[in-house]
């Protein structure tokens, strides 16, 4: 942080001016830190536009890029919903697969009307999420294990419904229309997902429920003690996550025109990566919608550029994985280098509580964003 202050070399005569300048660079540094992913996206965008001018910055590429990320973003949103209350949901990717297959089966083979099928699929996703929620909050099974079990069971059901085949027969055109209709040049699936992201964003940041959600993720016991219905809230987030994942499955069917029973599982890790990477930016230290969105875009832009430059398809997960680790380490490093300080006691709960991402870096991060006065208050007595 300090290295980026040219004002340190300012002339003594211009002391006042240099103070203003230093305040300005401080602001820029803070903006960069808070919007690190956004800056990186811009940089990558410019670099790739110069490196592959004929292919990367073209409308078809960018439209395809956006459409290709819609399902992944929605899945990341469902991962986000559960991580904000301090739990993990591994089953969402399998719910996505089940929903795609169920939708294809009911509308194609059984010929049920499309609206009914959509309602059934989303209800099924919500139901599965509710089951996970009950197993976690009532039967007190650790969410990682509970949703692993639920996810496995769901993946079996998916194979059962599809008979292990990719379902592509008689699927109504309505699904393609729902997902692919261009609006302002971009497929409708993107708009649907963005609308959902906005709703979740408003819920998390502007409503009382959002405070309760972050409180529960930050400290379940504290939330309980102030009268928040922690179990109900967690259960609701699992249900919502299931519903979102199911909708992602329906959109996926519309985009692909066929339902592959093994589709969802490939999206699981990237969705988690986006949520965690997103927690380093916009509202550092908290899982947040805008950060997750930026992370999804960053990963997509990064890989798209690389593939246009000739990188093979298998580079994508490698890129995602490396980007996640580099992102987390860089956000921690940038704060540690600015002040040598160990994490305060009571914050060492890292992985054990997903509601507190990056336990060690978290407080430092806030501190570096705050002014020096509250930095002084960081002194623990």
């Amino acid at each position: 942080m300090r290295a980026s202050k040219p004002s340190d070399r300012g002339l003594p005569a211009a002391a006042a001016e240099s103070a203003t300048l230093s305040r300005l660079t401080g602001l820029v540094t803070r903006l960069l830190q808070r919007h690190s992913l956004l800056s990186l996206i811009v940089v990558l965008f410019v670099v790739f536009s110069f490196a592959a001018p004929g292919t990367f910055p073209t409308a078809p590429n960018l439209q395809g890029l956006a459409l290709g990320q819609a399902v992944g973003l929605l899945l990341a949103m469902s991962v986000l919903l559960v991580t904000t209350v301090g739990e993990f949901d591994l089953s969402v990717a399998y719910i996505l697969g089940l929903s795609a297959v169920l939708t294809a089966k009911l509308s194609g083979d059984e010929g049920l009307p499309v609206p009914l099928v959509i309602v059934i699929s989303i209800a099924a996703g919500a139901l599965i999420g509710t089951i996970s929620g009950i197993v976690v909050t009532r039967l007190k099974v650790v969410s990682l294990i509970a949703t692993l079990g639920v996810g496995l069971a769901v993946s079996g059901l998916t194979v059962g419904i599809s008979g292990g085949q990719t379902l592509s027969g008689n699927i109504p055109q309505t699904f393609a229309v729902l997902a692919r209709t261009p609006i302002l040049g971009v497929g409708s699936a993107v708009w649907i997902v963005l609308a959902i992201a906005v709703v979740i964003y408003l819920m998390l940041t502007k409503t009382p429920v959002g405070s309760k959600i972050y409180a529960t993720g930050g400290s379940e016991q504290v939330a309980r003690m102030v009268g928040i219905r922690v179990r109900l809230l967690k259960g609701a987030m699992f249900s919502l996550a299931g519903a979102c994942a199911a909708l992602a499955g329906i959109l996926q069917l519309g985009l692909a025109g066929a339902a592959n029973p093994s589709f969802g599982s490939n999206l699981l890790l990237p969705a988690f990566a986006a949520v965690f990477l997103g927690s380093t930016t916009v509202r550092p230290g908290f899982f947040n919608v805008a950060g997750t969105l930026l992370a999804v875009v960053l990963l997509a832009v990064g890989f798209s550029g690389l593939s246009l430059l000739g990188a093979p398809f298998w580079v994508e997960p490698v890129f995602d994985g490396v980007a996640l680790i580099v992102g987390i380490v860089a956000s921690r490093w940038s704060t540690i280098s600015s002040r040598r300080r160990r994490p305060a006691p009571g914050n060492g709960d890292g992985l054990a509580s997903p509601g507190a991402p990056e336990a060690g870096a978290r407080n430092d991060e806030h501190r570096s964003l705050d002014d020096t006065v509250s930095g002084a208050a960081a002194v623990r007595e």
Partner: protein
């Protein structure tokens, strides 16, 4: 022959980022001496201590000598300071619940082994010896999670001093007694004092002035990162220390004697508990009148803390009844208590108090987010007024709760409940680890609340506080409300006698 001067620190500065919080203090600690380091919350005590143990970096001008030899500040890392002979006991004994005492000791002093295989018999013998050195009667095979708070403190003391000659070492007690009852604290400090007779030097951070009076040879007082006073044993007095701590600012002293509300008949009590039974409580019956401060005390494990947890809804009552303002309650969750106007303040500020990552503002309004809804400006104004009233520092409501000092965290949690206008306030040892001036502010506010008709249930481990601030005190023994003291019986001596009888 060990040097007469164990530690000499000159011009110690410590900074967080660009902000200097300890401004060039100098002090030394002689061999076989206990030195108290006092100061208000946020004065730099812990920061100073953490510089000695390598947690905080020292400034470039700082010079340190240990046992007469100069020490490079850069070499004072956590392991470096430990190797040198600086040992520390913290308030929360850092013991791992599912490990035995012997295994825990081995983590500090190394596992004795033969060809890579742990020799358990030898480890047990070493641990038993280590515990015996400090006269600690604990089985090396006991799991740390099974120890009482007092035992945990003694075990951490023994472990921290493992493998070092007291006559070469400096022991730092960083509020080591804050969570202990007076008896447990005395047991701990007596053992420390024994080691001091054998040449150990001690730096002790505490808020309990009686301990300082009894055990310490010298008292250093910090204020805003400066060393403002050094008192020898002869010149020590509570008023001198408090004056040094707060400077010329107005000292708040809560009104002492209270005989409020004694005329209100018992039948119109704000809270009545009858035959209450639950985790750690076998049978408790009592009432609190409106505007009354009822003290609850007892040795650890005798049911005082447990009783408050039941009233706060944290533990379910298995039998008996509780009614508030004549209305019978179903107390099964904290939510039940909160909706009846009973607000509980836990002594565990971080895990049962505030959400560390959230801001002070968000923590204060958390129970009433719905009431405020989207009225952010109203919420901000209420929070600012409350922070002002309780003089919470820093004044910025956007500061993360976890970065506040202990006393300020406590005030934030109190602010939260005050905004909700309690009927019954249940406070479990609210002044543990809180400096004397803040303590007086808190008690003055409690009296103000009581005068406005709020009922207060207050647990404290310090009889003198109970005698000063309460209208009545009940002493728990074996899970029962065994003794009730009021009026002329309400003295420090009577409370101590009833507690430790």
């Amino acid at each position: 022959m060990p040097a007469e001067q164990r530690l000499a620190v000159s011009d110690l500065t410590v900074s967080y980022g660009q902000h200097e919080v300890v401004h060039g203090i100098s002090f030394d600690v002689d061999r076989g001496r206990m030195v108290a380091l006092l100061g208000a919350n946020g004065s730099g005590k812990s920061t100073t201590v953490k510089a000695l143990t390598g947690v905080n970096a020292m400034g470039p001008r700082t010079r340190v000598r240990f046992n007469g030899t100069p020490v490079k500040p850069a070499s004072l890392t956590t392991t470096g300071s430990r190797r040198l002979g600086i040992r520390v006991v913290h308030q929360e004994a850092p013991l791992i619940s599912n490990m035995t005492v012997a295994e825990m000791a081995a983590l500090h002093m190394g596992f004795p082994h033969a060809g890579g295989v742990v020799r358990h018999g030898e480890l047990k013998r070493q641990t038993a010896q280590m515990l015996a050195d400090f006269d600690v009667d604990v089985d090396p095979d006991a799991y740390c999670g099974e120890l009482t708070t007092g035992e945990r403190a003694l075990v951490s003391l023994a472990i921290s001093m493992a493998g070092i000659d007291p006559d070469r070492a400096l022991l730092i007690l960083d509020e080591a007694t804050a969570a202990l009852s007076t008896t447990d604290a005395k047991r701990l400090l007596d053992r420390v004092r024994n080691a001091v007779e054998r040449g150990l030097s001690v730096v002790m951070v505490t808020h309990r002035l009686p301990e300082v009076r009894e055990y310490c040879d010298r008292t250093l007082v910090l204020r805003d990162g400066d060393l403002v006073s050094a008192l020898e044993r002869e010149s020590f007095s509570e008023s001198a220390v408090i004056h040094a701590m707060v400077g010329d600012e107005e000292q708040r002293v809560a009104a002492d004697a209270r005989q409020a509300s004694a005329t209100v008949p018992e039948r119109s009590a704000a809270l009545i508990a009858t035959g209450l039974q639950g985790q750690g409580v076998t049978s408790a019956s009592f009432h609190v009148r409106p505007g009354e401060i009822l003290g609850v005390t007892g040795r650890a494990g005798e049911g005082a803390s447990e009783l408050l947890r039941i009233i706060g809804g944290l533990e379910p009552a298995t039998r008996g009844s509780v009614s508030v303002r004549g209305r019978e309650l179903r107390l099964r969750t904290p939510r039940d208590a909160v909706s009846a106007g009973i607000f509980y303040l836990s002594p565990d500020r971080l895990s049962e108090g505030g959400v560390p990552t959230m801001t002070v503002h968000d923590n204060i309004v958390l129970p009433m987010v719905e009431r405020y809804g989207l009225a952010r400006r109203k919420a901000a104004a209420d929070v600012a007024a409350m922070m002002d009233k309780l003089s919470i520092r820093p004044k910025d409501a956007r500061t993360p709760f976890g970065s506040l000092s202990g006393g300020n965290q406590q005030k934030v949690l109190l602010a939260r409940w005050l905004l909700l206008q309690p009927t019954v306030l249940v406070l479990d040892d609210p002044t543990a680890g809180v400096d004397p001036n803040t303590r007086e502010i808190m008690f003055a506010i409690l009296h103000e609340l009581a005068a406005a008709g709020v009922s207060v249930l207050l647990r404290s481990t310090e009889p003198e506080h109970l005698a000063r601030f309460c209208d009545r005190v009940i002493v728990m023994q074996g899970g029962r409300d065994a003794v009730q003291l009021q009026g002329a019986e309400l003295t420090t001596e009577e409370i101590s006698r009833a507690t430790y009888a």
